[in-house]
Each structure stands twice: as C-alpha cells, then as structure tokens.
Subunit: 203 residues, 2 copies
DNA sequence: GTCTATACGAAGATAGAC
DNA sequence: GTCTATCTTCGTATAGAC
C-alpha cells in the first residue's frame, strides 16, 4: 500500500509488444479499475469487465493468464499511478501516512489489496503470492534504510531495530486502513502519526 | 485474531436446539476447519466440505444460510477453542503477542482471517462484515481499558491515547502475521514485543 | 428437523474457428 | 487478436422424502 518506483516497469501478463496490444492492455487495466471502484472486488468477474469494455471474457485471457493475474496487474497499475514516489525529505512515518491517506480515498483499493493478500497466502508461486512477497520485501528494505539513516542522524531512538520497525510500520498502516474502513471513527491519520512520537529519540 | 470470552455463545447460523442438530453442527464446524487446515480457504467449496463429512452440500445450507456464514462460523469456532481467555495478569501487549503466536501456528488460520476480512470490506450487512466490525470494536474496547489502567498505574507513557494504541496494536499484530507467513524471516514475536519498549513510560 | 436430489445461473478456463 | 462454444465447478434455491 505504499510507494512504487519509476524504473522500467516489469509487466504482469503477456508482453504485448505490438502497439495495439499495448494500448488494449492499458485500456483493460483502466476499465477494470473503474469496475472495482464502482462495484468492489467481489462482483467483479472477468465477464463483467469484458462486457464493460465491449469484448468477450475470453479476450481478456489473451492478455492475462488468469483472473488473479489480471487483478494483480490492476492493483499494480493503480498503485504506480497515484504515487509521486515519496518526497525524499519526508520521514519514514510521513511517507507511510501520506500513502495510507491517499489509499483510503480510493474506493475499492483496500478491498482489492486485502483480497489479493488473502490469495497470496493461499499458495506459493501464484501471481499474487509472487507480487506481494516481493512488494513487502521491497518496502521493508526501503523503510529499513530510511530508519537506519534516521537513527544515524539522531532522529530515531537507538533501542529499536530498524528492520523490525519497518515491518511494524507497514503492518500498522495496512491494519489501520482496514479498521478505518470498517469503523471510520478509528483515527487513522493521528494514530499512524503517533508512531513518530513513539520512535522519537529518548533524550 | 485475539481473545474471545467464555460467555454464552451467540450462535451463527440456525439454532438447532435438537440434540442431533447441535452435534451435527459441531461436527460440520470441526470438519470444515480440518479442510481449511489441509487445503486452505481457497479450494474449500461447500461441496468439498460436504463430501468430506459424507453429506450433500445442500445439507450444510440447512445449518448455515450461506457459504460465507459457514466460513465466519468456522473462524469463530476455531478462535473460541484455542483461547484460555487471556491471563488477566498480562500486559495488553503480551496478550496480543501470545494470541499471534498461537495463531500463526494453526495452518490456514491467517488465510481464513484475511479472506473473511476482505469480504467484510466488500459490503455492509453481510455476515463477515457484521462479525468483524463487532470483533474489532470489542477487542479495541478491551485493549483500550487495559491501556487506560496501565497508564493510571504508571506502566504506560502518558503522551499517547489508549484508544489509538489499541487500534495500532491490533493492526500491527494482524499485519505482522501476514508478513511473517509470506516471509518467515520477519521477526514477528520480537517485533511485537518491541511495542512494550515503545510504550514504556518516559522516565 | 434433517437431509437428498435436482435444477439454475454465473463463474473461470480452454479449444478451435475466423 | 478476438470470437463462439463448451467444460467444469461453484453457490444458491426449491421440492420433497423420512
């Protein structure tokens, strides 16, 4: 639920190096994202997405091996779009807070995320498993580096492990978004920001 | 993913006040839980569970209104069993750490939990939505009370909101269990316990 | 109350024609 | 590259036996 980098993208699904295929692929991802925004990840079948684009559901499977792969691609695409790729000046906590606030503003995003994480837990080697294993690992690494720097700069307390705090912060952000969706009285932003207080150096 | 109380249980699904029905209902829940342990929440259709018990899949719908309701009941049943209902002496953090460690030891449990949370996000009024909304609210309340007590006793720093910390701790526990399943090198226990350090009074 | 049999519609996936 | 047709499995609903 956080940042994506702007290096050459690893494409999920068939390459589709030809112009029409590439354009079609983009269109599918964007129309599919629309369907999710309006109807959630549940009522969103291949057939429904296909109907909304005006093709048969089999056509979608020409670009993606399976429904799951399409869902992962949609999530990745949506995430990569809405992300100014993290002002370097911000603290680790601030980066996550901003990402979370944007995230809960997009209807269906947390639901899609949670759905895919659930299927990632089901079996190894599946598209969602591969994607989220790598995603978690990458974000943990990024945050660990930030925390390590902050510790060196005296902006983070010394008695915690940067790697542990990275995993903890991601977990807290993910979990709080879910709780907020189920009960908006949960103070997502304030709570996440409290993390800064907890992590402040013990002077 | 935490504690359940031992008050008279609210039964999900039909009451089944007759002896045979009650026993059957129990058997269904336990056999269904087995299927989840072995095959995960994905390949687990009503028909498969029914076949494993030796009944028709329609029979399951005599006890539960829908597949989703059955899943919720299975989760609730499994959770209520493995839970000595939280040594009162423990700190709030310790309670969650213990629950989390037990949880990740049961195959399929986190997957079932995450699957149901995902469907809880999909629509209001569904069985999973009702269950998890109440569950989160209940656990937050329990933890908030504990934190408030700890603050009064001088065992918790003063500059945080007990209610915020309750939501944060639950979120961290849920999220870390997921990350641990995808990457066991994530130090679930140590990381969660670090929370105690973060929350210690600023002396 | 408990359960089987059966039917329906929707879903993901595949094969093969164009 | 896209379609139609088809297969299998699924959740759900109903009718009716015991």
């Amino acid at each position: 639920m956080t940042s994506e980098e702007n290096r050459p993208r690893r494409v999920i699904g068939r390459a589709g190096s030809y112009e029409k295929g590439v354009a079609r692929r983009q269109e599918i991802l964007e129309r599919a994202a629309e369907v999710f925004r309006e109807r959630g990840a549940d009522g969103t079948s291949l057939r429904r997405i296909a109907a909304m684009i005006g093709v048969s559901h089999a056509a979608l499977l020409h670009y993606f091996d399976s429904r799951e792969q399409l869902l992962v691609a949609v999530y990745e695409h949506a995430e990569s779009q809405r992300d100014t790729s993290g002002e370097v000046a911000d603290s680790a906590v601030d980066v996550l807070v901003k990402a979370a606030m944007i995230n809960i503003g997009v209807p269906g995003m947390v639901e899609l995320y949670t759905t895919l994480v659930a299927s990632a837990l089901a079996a190894e080697g599946t598209p969602s498993n591969e994607f989220f294993s790598h995603r978690f690992a990458r974000i943990r690494t990024e945050l660990t580096e930030r925390f390590t720097e902050e510790q060196a700069a005296g902006r983070l307390r010394e008695d915690v492990e940067p790697a542990d705090m990275a995993a903890l912060l991601i977990a807290a952000s993910d979990g709080l978004q879910i709780q907020w969706l189920l009960e908006p009285s949960v103070e997502l932003e304030r709570t996440l920001e409290t993390f800064s207080v907890l992590l402040a150096p013990t002077s």
